[in-house]
């Protein structure tokens, strides 16, 4: 077996140049994980060290610590290298605790559910 040279890896879609860097992984269910990329393979299975889930509700956000995560590749949408020079989020967003974000998440979910049921009840009006 021959090994690809460092240059080949840089020019390919290999995740090798994201290794040991802080990355953002977007999952198919919409979750956002942040962590240090420690390992990967050709399916985009990935190992994140010191990972956390970033929950965003409106202008609030919170990072919920998760630890070491192995992500199955099929759930990966996108893997992005974070530019440490740049702000991770726009300045108008505020950091809140895990408890508060859970509460905000629940409120948002209930609001959308309610919207759904109201729509359903008014369906006979043929609004569209």
């Amino acid at each position: 077996m021959s090994w690809a040279s460092a240059e080949d890896i840089y020019l390919s879609t290999s995740l090798a140049n994201y290794l040991d860097k802080k990355v953002l992984v977007l999952l198919r269910d919409g979750r956002k994980l942040l962590g240090i990329l420690r390992s990967f393979d050709q399916f985009a299975n990935a190992v994140l060290e010191g990972s956390c889930e970033r929950v965003i509700v409106g202008d609030l956000y919170s990072d919920i610590p998760l630890g070491l995560y192995v992500i199955r590749g099929e759930n990966v949408v996108l893997l992005g290298e974070l530019d440490l020079e740049k702000e991770e989020l726009p300045p108008h967003m505020t950091h809140v605790s895990a408890v508060e974000i859970k509460r905000a998440q629940k409120a948002e979910r209930e609001a959308t559910d309610l919207k759904g049921t109201i729509r359903k009840r008014l369906e006979f009006l043929d609004l569209d």
């Binding site: 879609t13 919409g30 996108l78 991770e88």
Partner: protein, 93 residues
């Protein structure tokens, strides 16, 4: 292999990749592979307001299986060449 070769020719061009979750990302095509996984550089999200978490992502890897469209530069399509390549591929060459 046709589209793999085709995308390889587009490396270095500015493209917009629209994903199945409606996220659209514009950036310079850095590389593609056989699964049509894509690496973009100098990325920016088309609807930045809606996706604030993407703000500090400069370079990214997109899994081929989640791509819906790739929007190309208008001069990135050589129809003649593509026709010929398609015929060649259909003949099994």
């Amino acid at each position: 292999m046709l589209f793999f070769s085709y995308f390889k020719d587009l490396v270095g061009r500015e493209v917009t990749v629209e994903l199945k979750n409606d996220l659209a990302i514009r950036g310079t095509l850095h590389s593609v592979d056989q699964y049509l996984n894509i690496k973009l550089e100098n990325t920016r999200v088309v609807d930045q307001e809606k996706y604030p978490h993407m703000l500090s992502v400069r370079n990214c890897f997109i899994r081929g299986s989640v791509v819906r469209y790739v929007q190309l530069p208008p001069d990135g399509v050589d129809v003649e060449l593509l026709h010929d390549a398609t015929r060649r591929e259909a003949r099994g060459g």
